[in-house]
């Protein structure tokens, strides 16, 4: 398993091929439906958005967090279904130069196109493996847009060996999901 540090250089991102298994260390932020909607809305209106979104590694995740003695801790944090963000993601990738997306289930051809254009990759985390994945996210560095609620807020983590993650959509227009879909036997 290749162990990579964030932020990844364009060369490293470009070198990642579909099917490769990696782990990552560095700043990861979470964002789901509400975060995508607000980021686009605020940027349309010229309102500031949290700086951490730009050039980020964006984890489609709504973790369970617990505040004890004024400090946030992660309890569990697995991926959510990325396809819900299909309509919003191309715009978010372009406006905020997202470098990597972590999620489950894969995303649409439009998203794959935006990823190719902007040099972004999609990493598949194992759906439901929330306890194991939280081990790689034990350092919580902050929260933005907390008013969106626990699941929808932007949580900031300093990831350490977060993985295993499968490179499922690369920045060259290849998608493991599409390969599997093409070969599906329905009859």
């Amino acid at each position: 398993m290749r162990s990579l540090r964030l932020p990844m250089s364009p060369d490293v991102i470009s070198s990642l091929k579909v099917g490769e298994v990696i782990s990552i260390s560095g700043q990861v932020i979470t964002g789901r439906d509400e975060m995508h909607m607000r980021a686009i809305e605020y940027s349309d209106e010229g309102k500031p958005v949290p700086e951490c979104i730009r050039n980020s590694t964006l984890y489609h995740c709504g973790p369970i967090m617990l505040k004890t003695d004024g400090v946030w801790h992660v309890i569990v944090a697995g991926p959510t279904t990325s396809a819900r963000m299909n309509k919003l993601e191309p715009e978010v990738i372009r406006r905020f130069a997202i470098k990597a997306i972590i999620g489950k289930g894969g995303m649409s051809p439009d998203v794959l196109g935006a990823m190719k254009e902007m040099g972004c990759i999609y990493l598949a985390a194992t759906g439901g493996a929330a306890v194991s994945l939280a081990e790689g996210l034990s350092r919580v560095t902050g929260v933005e847009w907390e008013d969106l609620g626990m699941a929808e807020a932007i949580w900031k983590f300093q990831a350490e060996n977060l993985g295993p993650l499968i490179v499922a959509m690369d920045c060259h227009g290849n998608s493991l999901y599409d390969e599997v879909k093409k070969k599906l036997i329905r009859d």
Partner: protein, 291 residues
């Protein structure tokens, strides 16, 4: 499984029930995952099954929810009970949200405002099955959104027959792809009315995996779909492989002569269920109760 002596309030019983369902995968589902890992040859699929089983063990040891989507709890109350049980179950859900903790998941459908305690208009969902027994049995099924969002209802024509039913179920599972966190359980309802059909598909998810359907025709249909879906190549998380489903479970009911309703309700690999039987002797917890 384990017996807790009375007095234990229904509220605390519900907290214990939710903790059990969230932190411990039912044994039959664990076995099915292990069996799948033994026959799976695709390396990516194998890595996904390994990560799942590793996670299940950690959740149980640490006493943490195995998935961050602690879902919508759906309750089935069977036996003897009175109407006050709804209030007690709601209190248990609210308390469990804070103490386990669970993720606050319930929001107003339009404003998207989160209640913060997994309650709100229409929540929690409770189904009642009165019987002449002298116990009260509460079963909970935790339903995450990833799998629930893939639900399909088809009002087929009676002339479509079994082949179209098979196609409808196959398409529902394969079109869902990796979104419902395969390999999971495919709950199928055939017959009834539209609403009953979906309800049957959901209760099929509560059935223990290694207990055969008593109806030989349905058993055969379940097996046919199981073989077909696992031969599709979709695999764990939709990343390819020969493990797409752990089981197919079908419930049927009589329907109108002009109708053929078919519903598919998918359960993720973490189809979390638990039951408690409350009697004079105490509260007995298990994860394989029948409805």
């Amino acid at each position: 499984m384990s017996m807790i002596k009375l007095p234990e309030s229904i509220e605390d019983t519900v907290v214990n029930l939710l903790r059990l369902a969230n932190t411990k995968l039912p044994t039959d589902i664990g076995w099915a995952l292990e069996a799948a890992a033994a026959w799976e040859t695709n390396p990516i699929a194998h890595s996904q099954l390994g990560a799942i089983m590793d996670n299940v063990k950690k959740a149980e040891v640490l006493g943490r929810p195995m998935c961050q989507d602690t879902g919508i709890p759906i309750f089935y109350v069977r036996g003897k009970f009175d109407s006050s049980i709804a209030k007690d179950i709601a209190a248990g859900v609210s308390k469990a949200t804070k103490t386990i903790p669970l993720r606050p998941n319930t929001v107003d459908p339009l404003t998207r405002k989160n209640s913060g305690d997994n309650l709100g208009n229409g929540m929690p969902i409770i189904h009642y099955i009165p019987t002449d027994d002298d116990f009260t049995e509460i079963t909970v099924l935790l339903k995450g959104a990833g799998s629930e969002n893939m639900t399909r209802l088809g009002m087929l024509n009676p002339a479509d027959g079994v082949d179209e039913i098979k196609k409808f179920v196959t398409d529902a599972v394969l079109d869902a792809g990796g979104r419902p966190c395969p390999p999971g359980i495919v709950g199928v309802g055939i017959g009834g009315t539209a609403d009953e059909c979906v309800a049957m598909a959901k209760t099929a998810l509560i059935r223990v995996l290694d207990e055969d359907n008593p109806d030989p025709v349905l058993k055969r249909l379940e097996e046919d779909l199981f073989i077909k879906l696992n031969g599709s190549g979709l695999g764990p998380m939709g990343l390819g492989g020969s493990t797409t489903v752990l089981a197919v479970k079908i419930n049927t009911a009589f329907c109108h002569t002009a109708s053929l309703p078919v519903a598919v309700n998918i359960g993720c690999w973490a189809t979390r269920r638990a039951s408690v039987r409350i009697s004079d002797k105490g509260s007995e917890y298990s994860q394989g109760a029948k409805l």
